[in-house]
Symmetry: C2
Subunit: 434 residues, 2 copies
């Protein structure tokens, strides 16, 4: 098995090879679907009783009453106080930068008035209550808590409810510290499909929310899909991806390590490099070979790179942009001289990192933009998580008496054409008799 | 069976009665799910062959080759030319007003530069290609073509592909005229799950799109749910709803007719009136009784009102706003003196119609705002269809050399805390050795 695939866009087989490389189908597991349906049904109809039952069964956490599932705010603050100074400072600096960036995303209510006095516009309001799912165990990333909580708070969401499983009662202090910093209002130690159900339907203890965001395992993802419509959900993420467009000007070691930083997430993560300079591709391959043994997560990286990674020789940077637009990567690094010049050629990507100093890892933690990004080519039609995901809009229509005289006949004509006579009459009733 | 339910918020049973009134569960039909899965599978793997087969079978439309499924642009323009003058003028005026309103919704790319030269921002781009589903037969509403097509075009979508079934080859000239006015680029006479599949996966004849919007029957809805992820989709709409908050100041006939204009859509449509004036509720009930026999769609209206409609006596307008926020209606008419004063109390509604002259029917056709609105309480977390549904965002991150020195240590500290060592190394590689 090779270290990493080597492809060239000049090959007659390139299109087929690229298709094979990108192929990824999220498997639907019937047993997970079935279990989730049952869990959600019980939570909806039995509330706290079912929630306590599942929490005992799956997390081996037994409490006398459901209210004991809540972590008091004082404990969140204590977790923050107890962090090592450098970690706390890093978390605070990241939170501050993320907040500052997201302030730019806030939408505001707008209206305009027409000459006849008719007012049209859009009222922008935050969601009332949002649920934030935070995985337990190894996938518990404090940075994810910040990236999900801060946009909700910047949007003005008054109540942000976090749920996170604590198997055997073990709590993760960095995650609780991040919750305190991110402005989370309440935290409950529940997880899995039962936590998603509790947030969607509400129980005596867990308040029903309007939207659920945050990553989770296959059960959480399946449960989120099922409650969609009852509440809003964020996207269901696939494996993480990076695509690097390079002109060979940055050190090969930097590029290799950036590929690693994606590959180390899990073996299905995808790291691809496009470069018109074949020698540079050789240098990167050599760097991969040299640096890989030094990595604590070398096994995962090796499996990811050999399975789904590729170094691709392209004709030129224009072709690189075209291939990138086809792939619509979650993370795109444009590691070239004058990277800015290529920006206008990039149509689809979750986040665009310009220039050699913009490593994806800086964006993952603290540059400011969100690290929750569209995967699996969905950047063609969707966007990073943002403040806009926690605001919604209502059209405002205030027709003046004079405006009703202008609009009435138009509406009546069109309504009659569609056979909707009450619509027509409703418009005609507003016409002044003269 | 009563003409329409009468409730009062002062009743001890009110909460339960309201819950019963609002209860609506979209049924999942196993046979539809199964049929859709099969249709989508065949379209994905057999392309045009399967498409021609299904079109022949379901629409009794036989063509020699798939290219004959396309309606040439000249025919769209001819349809527009052939409209009666008043209908054409009404359609043009509506299109112009809808376009003008939606221009206000366009988002623009933004960036900001930090003191160390780091640039952060968000690039806003239109989707490349969008599919618009337009139902055939009676539910073929030209106004819906405009409401879906215009925001896509205002967003800058270069290719807008419309599909619409033409059973027995019968084409609807008003729908084709609306397509011409709305700026639709190509039209194909296909429908059902097979049309959704063709748009999602592409065939030799039908280009694959990035997002599919527009209403459809249960098969279309099920197919859209299934292809979500491969492409984006708009919301799946439930039955239409109106809620009117009245202080009794508008004519009872106007209010009754506005309730009819919702009820005439279908028997599951919901029309509710909240008013603190019991006498006015009596007047509206009398108006309903008097006006109903004059309506061409009286049967549908009667079934809708008696099944899902209600006149609700409330304590005051404040309570009316609270109940309205709970219901989060698709359409909300605030038919009061100084309606503007209540606006700040309205948190959730698809569209808010202020004042007695703002009948929903004016908004449905020509006021300007979109008539594709969130139903079934989803206005708590979602918005009217808009230009923002046809644009997406990519984060821009251009870290300067100096910025990398500030951000690197923060990212490295947090990455190490999460056990992601390649992330840490990738940030550290950018630190200047000094």
């Amino acid at each position: 098995m090779s270290l990493i695939h080597r492809l060239t866009s000049q090959s007659a087989q390139f299109d087929a090879e690229l298709r094979t490389l990108l192929a990824y189908e999220a498997s639907e597991d019937e047993s997970i679907e079935h279990a989730c349906a049952q869990i959600l049904h019980r939570i909806q109809h039995e509330g706290d009783t079912a929630l306590l039952d599942y929490t005992q069964r799956f997390d081996r956490l037994t409490v006398e009453q459901a209210s004991a599932l809540e972590i008091p705010k004082a404990e969140l603050l204590a977790a923050l106080e107890s962090l090592p100074a450098d970690q706390r400072k890093a978390l605070e600096q990241a939170a501050e930068r993320v907040r500052r960036y997201h302030e730019h995303q806030r939408s505001e209510t707008w209206t305009y008035t027409e000459p006849d006095g008719t007012v049209l516009g859009q009222q922008v309001t935050p969601l009332d209550r949002v649920g934030l799912y935070v995985p337990g165990g190894k996938a518990a990333y404090p940075s994810s808590v910040l990236m999900n909580a801060i946009p909700a708070k910047v949007a003005g969401v008054p109540e942000l409810i976090m749920v996170t499983p604590t198997p055997d009662g073990v709590r993760n202090p960095i995650v609780l510290a991040a919750a305190a910093l991110g402005g989370v209002d309440r935290v409950f130690t529940i997880g899995g499909a039962q936590a998603v159900g509790a947030l969607a339907y509400g129980t005596d203890t867990i308040p029903a929310v309007d939207k659920i965001v945050g990553p989770g395992n296959a059960y959480v993802a399946a449960a989120k899909r099922r409650v969609f419509g009852v509440v809003g959900i964020d996207m269901i993420a696939g494996p993480s991806e990076i695509l690097i467009i390079s002109d060979g000007s940055a050190p090969a070691d930097w590029v290799a390590m950036d590929l690693f930083s994606q590959a180390e997430h899990d073996e299905l993560a995808q790291a691809i490099l496009l470069c018109p300079d074949a020698d540079f591709l050789d240098q990167v391959e050599a760097a991969i070979e040299r640096l890989l043994p030094t990595m604590p997560r070398a096994d995962i990286i090796r499996r990811s790179l050999s399975g789904r990674g590729a170094l691709i020789h392209v004709r030129d940077l224009d072709e690189a942009c075209k291939i990138s637009n086809h792939i619509a990567p979650e993370h795109l690094e444009v590691s070239t001289r004058n990277a800015q010049d290529l920006l206008s050629k990039i149509r689809h990507a979750g986040a665009i990192f310009l220039g050699p100093y913009s490593s994806e890892s800086l964006g993952d933690y603290c540059a400011g933009p969100n690290h929750v990004l569209p995967t699996a080519r969905t950047a063609r039609f969707s966007s990073p998580l943002g403040v806009y995901d926690f605001q919604k809009r209502s059209s405002i229509i205030q027709v003046s008496e004079s405006g009703a005289q202008t609009l009435g006949p138009i509406a009546a004509t069109l309504a009659q054409g569609e056979g909707l006579y009450a619509h027509a009459a409703s418009a005609q009733f507003r016409l002044n008799q003269s």
